[in-house]
Symmetry: C2
Subunit: 449 residues, 2 copies
């Protein structure tokens, strides 16, 4: 399962159970008994969390951690605006979209106003997985094809269909016969800019050609617009040529914004906008409700309407009152506090800070990202750009022990995946940089405290 | 789309927009513009709801409706225990299952204690669709087959895979090549009891045979244990022989408890338990969090563990803190207030009451169901059992105008689908019976007020 970057990169191993206090060992045993082996834990010494507030979470011993990873609580753990909106709506009404309610429309209109005009329709789901699943259904309906192109380490979710287009699931889960892969647009190793974009577009054209050769008609190119599981690949020159290639094949471009969307990647608000493209369909998720399950698919009405008028679709919780209230509160906070611009500015400060560390830490091979989505590539040899997964995991675990939460990504699990909350203070940024420096200094020599 | 029983049985048609006040027409227009045509509304004159409390919901004009349909708010709209639990958890922590938390385990253990001992593992999702999708993935992994048998009007959700096993989606959505149908076990037309069970088992065996003939190996028989979309078919003699037939084929039985579960169908708590069978996998959903999106799959550990140890699965919101807090509050209320026994008793009173109506209303062809899940079959000819969809829809719309919410089900849209909340008072039961009598008396002559 070496390719299973999403679920196993930074996972607890039961061999390390001895490192845990007895209370946590008991929780582990209960998990094993009732939840089964699908339920993995982060870190060599898993965290037992009991509280979250703003940019911090707290463990059962009262230790504080700076959250530089969880993009669900993007506007801060327990944000009072979301807490209050959900509480008010819970007391008022929580029902589905087969009754008229104006709140879902208020939110839909405000959300769509953040998109290019062509993206004028939204459907609500409960998860990014459901959103990607729906987007693929719509793309197949629109094109009459089934073939899907994704990047080599893509992860798009957990339903059967999206698992079949998620190579990050690892070799044990075979990809669909309708799925084919393209290499990820890795500017660090291939060089960036226009040349990278043209190369990537060529790979996509070739991939659709392979599908056609095996009798599979094109339906979609589905891509996370910051290629998170491929290692946080942020060169914005990539998607323009790619989307032209996709459309030449008669396929649709589905932008998976579950991770990069909602201002995470900076002032452009949506990851695709950094690339100067307009997708055909867009999937949304994680930070949309600050932890209340809500997600959705945005698309061009000429595509979505044809699907909707021919194929019944109803989602019981999707677009129901309480999830919409949470989503409304989140969007209001992001817009009122101008968090997209703040993410852009803080991201620059963070990347500059990490690049300054790189002068003292040769293990930092590359610092990239957009807004508050950073990738820090850890290498054993800068010249040869040799991935150093062991060191990356050591840094992740040391940071955990130093009170900062991050994880890893990429095909070699050697890219630090850093997603500070959008509401970081300047002091939070400084603390992060300080602790990262310390963790890199300790290096592989560090052992769990 | 005549077979599209789930989504179009009781839907608003834009041809009737003139019946609506201008404020609602404006909401309709906004819906059309931003949500697209997938978003259907209930009733000839859709309801614009603004508030819910206990067994009642209220429209924008302050009119009160007795909710005899929505099984999501099963323990009552805005139940204070759920409101408070969610509010407390929202302020405390809302994060995912990759950190240790004891609440998910407390809930998992309490939930599993309501199941037979063999069903000892649970995985959490956000929707019944995700739960059925996961159950099918697990069943395919366990059996090595892909073939799925479902009933003729089954509905199992909205992901690509479960839509492919949902004939209720209508002819526009072709079933999967791995899907085959059996007639529903309709005791009203075929006679009930042991003979019905044996016949049904024979149909299942034949269906798996058809799949094998076309090179498809069996994976699962997936059935809603009250066959809601097939018309609320409640004869408990059906699943025993069926499950034996399924196991003889080397397939698994997946009980879809999204609608019948959580005490809806009475004292047995789970729909499958009424049939005296133990499923291999069970999907849960709708009422689980009283409207907070939460769902899950329960199964035998020998099946679930094999999947979980080989295939990565992580669900960001599934099993996260707030959905679990909502689910915990719901389960506590159901158990503390003994609502399963109450559903059983109230269901008997309701069915007796409707049967008493049947003496005066020859349109009532059959009264069936279990607990607080009733089916009332409306016919134009009792002897010939001729479905009367027009009258059933008239009764549904008249009941709406009389302040009682129900809908229709079944292949002919002629079965009143009645799901009173589990917390009905005796007065609610009396009110429901009263209004049903009135609506049947008005019959097809009734026009919207």
């Amino acid at each position: 399962m070496t390719r299973s970057t999403i679920l196993d990169g930074n996972s607890f191993s039961s061999a390390d159970a001895g490192l845990l206090p007895s209370e946590d060992r008991e929780l582990l045993e209960r998990r094993r008994r009732v939840l089964g082996p699908s339920y993995r834990l982060f870190y060599r010494r898993p965290l037992h969390l009991v509280r979250g507030s703003g940019t911090r979470v707290y463990d059962a011993d009262g230790r504080e951690y700076l959250d530089a990873y969880n993009n669900v609580a993007s506007i801060g753990h327990g944000h009072p605006a979301v807490v209050e909106a959900v509480h008010r709506q819970m007391r008022t009404l929580n029902t589905h979209s087969r009754y008229l309610q104006h709140e879902i429309l208020d939110y839909a209109e405000q959300l769509l106003a953040t998109f290019p005009a062509a993206l004028d329709t939204v459907m609500f789901t409960n998860s990014g997985s459901e959103a990607n699943d729906l987007a693929l259904r719509v793309a197949r309906h629109a094109t009459g094809g089934t073939g899907v192109v994704v990047t080599a380490e893509a992860y798009h979710g957990t339903t059967s269909l999206v698992a079949d287009v998620s190579p990050a699931m690892g070799r044990e889960h075979p990809l669909g016969s309708f799925t084919t892969l393209v290499p990820a647009p890795d500017a660090y190793r291939r060089g960036g800019g226009a040349q990278l974009g043209e190369w990537f577009a060529g790979e996509i054209t070739a991939a659709f050609g392979r599908l056609r050769s095996s009798g599979v008609r094109p339906a979609a190119f589905l891509a996370d617009t910051i290629f998170a599981s491929d290692g946080v690949l942020s060169d914005p020159a990539v998607l323009g040529p790619a989307v032209r290639a996709v459309h030449q094949e008669g396929a649709l471009f589905i932008a998976d914004e579950v991770q990069p969307g909602f201002a995470r990647t900076g002032a452009s608000f949506w990851g695709f906008a950094r690339h100067g493209v307009v997708p055909d369909l867009v999937s949304l998720g994680k930070p949309m409700g600050n932890g209340v399950p809500v997600a959705g698919m945005v698309g061009r009405s000429e595509i979505v309407d044809r699907f909707g008028s021919e194929i019944p679709y109803f989602n019981t919780f999707g677009g129901s009152s309480v999830p919409i209230a949470a989503a409304q509160a989140v969007l209001d906070v992001i817009q009122r506090e101008n968090l997209a611009a703040r993410a852009e500015a803080l991201g620059d400060v963070l990347r500059d800070g990490v690049r300054a560390h790189a002068r003292r830490h040769p293990a930092i091979g590359d610092v990239r990202g957009a807004g508050l989505f950073l990738g820090v590539e850890i290498v054993s040899d800068r010249e040869r750009r040799t991935p150093d997964s062991a060191l990356a995991l050591a840094v992740v675990n040391t940071l955990r022990d130093l009170g900062v939460l991050v994880s890893v990504a990429g095909p070699h699990n050697n890219v630090l995946k850093v997603r500070p909350l959008l509401v970081y203070s300047d002091a939070d940024v400084a603390l992060f940089l300080d602790r990262l420096d310390e963790a890199l200094t300790l290096g592989s020599a560090a052992v769990p405290l």
